[in-house]
């Protein structure tokens, strides 16, 4: 990034702008909102509360052009092998083009539709012949976060014949055990979702599920009626015993954190129906088309990415808060934590050199009204300078008087917080002094439904991609997560052998205390 000719002028601009308060920028320019927002049907991004000027915007777009962002976007959308460290495409956008589907994608839609249809007609049966009523998704990371986030958000819009859907991910087994305690073997179906079908987190839970099924069902063939496998590795699924008609596929060109668009989204389809699932794909595809065809000055995801770069690399802001003002988006920040930090939390450039600039900021968040009573204190009066994304929906839930009151209260709070962070307040009492000048963007969308959620997620995917192009990193691998897995296996062996002698002192010390307690 630093070698770009457009880098230095932006740096100069940043030094000039840093001391200028956001209030001043608004005072100087009555056209600020008109100038610094952009939209497409269903979504509007207001970035007028960012510390930018027209000059900055031009500079950022020029840098994107210098980095050949447009070419990269074309390569992404046409399925070029962009994940070069793993020798794969990153072609999740091909999963959501409803009018030009790949044959293999279409085949999986048909398989999903069959399962969804049988389930909704109460014809998907367990070993005793009773219809399945509960579905437990066993998966972690990308096989968990996306479907969890979407199904939680759209719970109120579920298909009348949707089964009850549950998610378990943690390898400690507690989530699973508490579900198994209240569910019935006869009517419970497990979805074992793992791209490699070797993830120990997922497979250890799946084995626990299998032995729970065994308590009530002796026939292995009948037992396997309770397991759907979703994986890019059909051989591994078969080896584990998943029946052929219960196998759903996706492919190595779909990254885990981009996989909710694939058959990994089965829980979404079970909850909403195939129609709802495809609405989500359509919303994401609309964002793809916008990302590809819209000039960078008006391109929502590209601008989200470029503004993030501006804040991180030029203004030196340290954190990114995600603040959805709709409690249905409870798991959205968690979802983005993986999407952004697993994609761009890297220090190596595509060419193998280490970077000499900051990349992905620490991202966290919470449903806005709750966060107001938690960490907003730090945003208003702390010493950290951070950037925030406010996410607001025009429509609330319901039309009655109370529902409208709550929605207005919600809108008022969202707008009040972003304004308070911006303008601050002077006071003679030092404890009541608010410096303001905290930057934020507001993404205003029509409503919480499958279509707009699809669009919202795709915006952030493309934001991440835009940033990766400027930072010159591969956002589609995740080598950073491997080391810990490897060490865990070796420590597990040490625990089995009850011998920690070769480990570091800290690890030894902790293990000794556990062993002594449990002796």
């Amino acid at each position: 990034m630093k070698q770009f000719a457009t880098y230095a002028p932006l740096n100069t601009l940043a030094e000039r702008l840093k001391p200028i308060h956001l209030n001043q920028l608004f005072a100087d320019n009555p056209q600020r909102f008109a100038q610094f927002h952009c939209q497409m049907p269903g979504a509007m991004l207001d970035f007028s509360k960012q510390k930018i000027t027209a000059e900055v915007l031009d500079g950022l777009v020029a840098m994107a052009e210098e980095a050949q962002l447009k070419t990269w976007i074309d390569r992404l959308l046409s399925g070029d092998e962009l994940n070069h460290t793993e020798g794969r495409k990153a072609w999740h956008t091909a999963l959501r083009d409803l009018s030009h589907p790949l044959p293999e994608v279409q085949e999986q839609w048909q398989k999903m539709a069959f399962i969804v249809d049988e389930m909704h007609q109460r014809q998907l049966r367990g070993f005793s012949g009773k219809p399945i009523t509960d579905v437990i998704n066993i998966g972690v990371g990308g096989s968990d976060l996306g479907p969890l986030m979407i199904t939680h958000a759209l719970e109120m819009q579920k298909h009348p014949d949707s089964p009850d859907i549950h998610f378990v991910s943690t390898l400690d087994g507690r989530q699973l055990q508490s579900l198994l305690a209240k569910l019935n073997q006869e009517t419970t179906l497990f979805i074992v979702a793992s791209k490699s079908f070797t993830t120990i987190d997922t497979l250890s839970l799946a084995e626990t599920a299998k032995s729970w099924m065994k308590q009530k069902c002796a026939s292995p063939q009948s037992r396997m009626r309770h397991f759907i496998g979703i994986s890019a590795s059909p051989d591994k699924m078969k080896e584990w015993g998943i029946l052929p008609q219960m196998q759903l596929a996706f492919w190595d060109w779909v990254g885990g954190r981009f996989s909710l668009w694939s058959s990994i989204g089965l829980t979404i389809a079970l909850q909403l129906g195939m129609e709802g699932f495809k609405q989500m794909l359509a919303g994401a595809h609309a964002a793809d088309v916008h990302f590809k065809n819209t000039p960078l000055h008006e391109n929502i995801p590209a601008l989200m990415g470029l503004i993030g770069i501006w804040n991180t690399n030029f203004l030196n802001l340290a954190g990114q808060a995600i603040l959805p003002y709709d409690s249905r988006l409870k798991h959205f920040a968690g979802y983005l934590e993986q999407l952004e930090m697993e994609s761009n939390g890297k220090h190596t450039r595509r060419n193998g050199d280490f970077v000499d600039y900051r990349t992905c900021p620490i991202l966290w968040g919470e449903v806005g009204p709750n966060a107001q009573h938690a960490f907003y204190q730090l945003l208003h009066q702390g010493t950290e300078r951070v950037m925030s994304d406010f996410i607001l929906f025009k429509e609330g839930q319901g039309q009655d008087e109370r529902a409208l009151y709550h929605q207005n209260l919600n809108i008022a709070n969202c707008l009040a917080q972003s304004r308070a962070m911006m303008v601050g307040q002077q006071s003679d009492d030092a404890h009541k002094h608010y410096p303001g000048d905290q930057v934020s963007s507001t993404l205003l969308m029509t409503r919480v439904d499958a279509y707009h959620l699809g669009m919202l997620v795709a915006f952030y995917e493309h934001k991440v991609f835009t940033q990766s192009v400027i930072w010159e990193i591969n956002p589609f691998d995740q080598w950073g997560v491997e080391l810990g897995k490897k060490i865990a296996l070796s420590i597990l062996e040490s625990i089995d052998r009850h011998d920690a002698a070769h480990l570091d002192q800290s690890t030894q010390g902790i293990l000794q205390q556990i062993w002594e307690h449990n002796r």
Binding site: Q123, F127, S128, G129, Q221, S222
Partner: protein, 414 residues
């Protein structure tokens, strides 16, 4: 007496015919169906039509002594319209008798509109023995407040009330609730027996023996204690929902009748579950024969019939079906063509002889206790089937005999 009977139900036909037979002049405002399955009904109707004591017309007699509503539940709007018309032409001696089982809401609307004495006289006759139940009823319920109307109705029903006085007089509200309550108690007994049948299987008891033991207690009696593959017909399920809704309004949240309903839904799939477990969850391309489609013998009604649920379930698992029922008609054909996908309907074959559906079959399911099924030729059955597997949804057969003849046998609760 001059009587109008309104409706095209079995109840309307039986009421019209029986009242015509006892010397009244009856006009049936409704249509005679082409086919009549109810035993004895066609003969009785034709006799009265020939005598001229019964006529079928689309116009009612304005000055009739009794206007009797025997509409089906679905025709409640027609009943309301007619009530308004009757109210306008109201004659001094006319009485409106409601034998239909409408919702409370509709009943109240009719009562509010009628402008003549009203008498609730619920029809308790089961389809299949409706004539006998009309002519020799367990009881005749009269829910009314008008003394003159009650007196006249007693006279009308006198021929059916000779052996002992079976008339029970009560308020209209009580009569409405009595009808509902009777149906839901019957349903509850059946569902309880079906639950007990599951327990019997689990603890190696025989529910048939248990039934004998229970039924002989005079506090319980033998009626409606048979376990089976669930009750069908339109009425019980509908009244379960109705009464559950009424119970809900009282604030009780116990859902007793919801449970009765759910148990029955589960029970309709009982034989499917046994078959499914028998073949370890793989019924793909299995040939399954089914005897009995109507929800009970001596009727062509398939409404709520367990067979329909079974057919759906088996087709979804890839079976090929061969069906026999003594009274299969347009009703079922219509169901096949509207409720199944063409690909599914293509896997259903109807047979006109009961043994023909057994060739190379992997299972025989008996769902309705038509007389013809009670003592079949098991040698022929054994020879024709590929797998000697019988699933007896009505406990018609002797388990020990069948096991000795080399069959695999599944009954209900044994």
């Amino acid at each position: 007496m001059n009587i109008n009977v309104f409706g095209a139900t079995v109840s309307a036909l039986v009421t019209a015919a029986c009242l015509a037979e006892t010397g009244n002049q009856v006009t049936l405002i409704g249509q005679l169906p082409k086919e009549m399955v109810e035993p004895g009904l066609k003969k009785l109707l034709n006799k009265q039509l020939n005598l001229g004591t019964l006529i079928v017309s689309d116009k009612h007699q304005v000055d009739a002594d009794f206007h009797i509503f025997s509409y089906g539940d679905g025709d409640c709007n027609q009943a309301l319209e007619l009530t308004e018309q009757l109210a306008q032409e109201a004659q001094e001696h006319s009485t409106l008798v409601i034998r239909s089982n409408f919702s409370v809401h509709i009943m109240r609307q009719i009562i509010a509109t009628a402008r003549m004495p009203i008498l609730i006289n619920p029809d308790f006759a089961p389809e299949g023995s409706a004539i006998q139940a009309f002519q020799r009823p367990d009881r005749i319920i009269i829910g009314a407040t008008d003394g003159q109307a009650i007196k006249r109705f007693r006279r009308l029903m006198a021929p059916f009330n000779r052996f002992r006085d079976t008339i029970i007089q009560m308020s209209p509200e009580s009569a409405i609730l009595t009808k509902y309550a009777t149906n839901v108690l019957i349903a509850t007994r059946i569902s309880l027996m079906n639950e007990l049948a599951l327990v019997a299987e689990q603890m190696h008891a025989d529910i048939e023996e248990v039934r004998q033991g229970m039924g002989s207690d005079h506090r319980i009696g033998f009626s409606y204690l048979y376990p089976g593959v669930g009750f069908g017909g339109a009425y019980l399920e509908r009244d379960l929902e109705r009464v559950q809704a009424l119970i809900d309004q009282t604030g009780s949240g116990e859902n007793l009748l919801k449970a009765v309903h759910n148990i029955n839904q589960q029970q309709k799939e009982l034989l499917f579950r046994k078959l499914w477990s028998h073949y370890e969850c793989n019924l793909e391309q299995k040939k399954v024969a089914i005897w009995g489609i109507s929800y009970k013998p001596n009727t062509n009604s398939i409404e709520g019939a367990p067979s329909l649920v079974m057919i759906q379930a088996l087709l979804h698992q890839g079976c090929e079906l061969h069906l026999f029922d003594p009274k299969l008609d347009d009703l079922f054909q219509h169901w096949l063509s509207t409720q199944l996908l063409p690909e599914q309907a293509a896997r259903v074959t109807l047979h006109s002889a009961m043994y023909d559906c057994l060739d190379q079959a992997d299972a025989l399911c008996v769902l309705t206790e038509w007389k013809a099924f009670w003592n079949p030729d098991f040698t022929q059955i054994r020879q024709r089937m590929r797998q000697p597997l019988i699933l007896d949804g009505r406990n018609l057969y002797d388990k020990t005999d069948l096991l000795e003849s080399g069959f695999v046998y599944y009954g209900v609760g044994r």
